[in-house]
């Protein structure tokens, strides 16, 4: 049963990846839709970022003083000026670790 669930989940997931690429003719999408599609990264990724920063492991909102909020703020600032993926991730992690292992210890 579990195997069957994995296979069906895999088919559904693959379909979600393939459907728009293989089955939809680009002509079917009007210019308005294409304009809106420019915003796909801006529309999708914050829905992963915000809960990851503002919720804890138990699904409740963190305090405004939570180390994750500081870490995200530093990463945001460093990323904004450096435009560099590694600098953004590393600065966020290091400042987060600095707070939880040095300041809060």
């Amino acid at each position: 049963m579990t195997w069957l669930s994995i296979i069906i989940s895999g088919i559904i997931t693959y379909f979600s990846r393939m459907a728009m690429v293989a089955l939809i003719d680009r002509e079917m999408l009007g210019t308005k839709v294409k304009e809106v599609l420019n915003y796909v990264p801006a529309a999708v990724f914050p829905a992963i970022i915000f809960p990851g920063v503002f919720f804890n492991d138990f699904g409740s909102l963190v305090q405004i003083t939570d180390p994750k909020i500081y870490g995200a703020f530093i990463a945001l600032t460093v990323g904004f000026y450096s435009k560099n993926v590694i600098a953004t991730i590393v600065s966020g992690l290091l400042s987060y670790w600095f707070i939880i292992f040095i300041i809060l210890k």
Binding site: I24, F45, P46, P51, I89
Partner: protein
Amino acid sequence: MLSKSKIFLRGTKDVLPHMLSVIPFGIITGAIGVEFGFDPLLVYATSLIIFGGASQIIFMQLLSGGASSLVAVTSVGVINSRHLLYGAVLSEYLEKLNLAHKLIISYFIVDQGFAESNKYIKKNKKETNIHYHILGGGITLWIFWQFSTIAGIILGSFIPNELGLKFAIPLTFLAVVIHDLKKLDHVFVMLISGFTSLILFDAPFKSYIILSPIVALIAAFIMLRLKK
């Protein structure tokens, strides 16, 4: 114009920074599956067959918690439906490929790969071999994902939980939208999506992952209408 292999390698290079989150996340996924009591082969099969980080963890979490298969499969479908949006964006650049190539490339469309290829496309509009960038990024992410889940399955969660490496996931996605923060219209759409996700976080089947982008895209559509 770059050669095909150069574009492929560029795709590889562009996703490498994201391994900072992919590797620990893969290890956690493998280790958690075994902890939940699933057969190691079955845990690995989720990486090969589903190949979608968060959805694999939630799938195993739901089944081990006694949820029905229908609920687990539905959740995976809902969480992964965001790929439809990636496909819609990329389809323009994959149009000229034959069906077999489209079917192969589709398997490798993943979050970080999409984000980096999308950035690359924006900067290299005349490039005709964009699909090599998608493949370069996608295959690299695939390899690292497979090996890190296997490592997690065999070695268990050898990364101390105290490190809080889960935090690398929001950071990795922050890193991919950061270059759009200077554009006010994009920031507006991001804020709508982000706050909607906080409000809808408890919606069934983790549907905030697809509902928030839909709300944000509707907002984008209205914004474009008002601008004109």
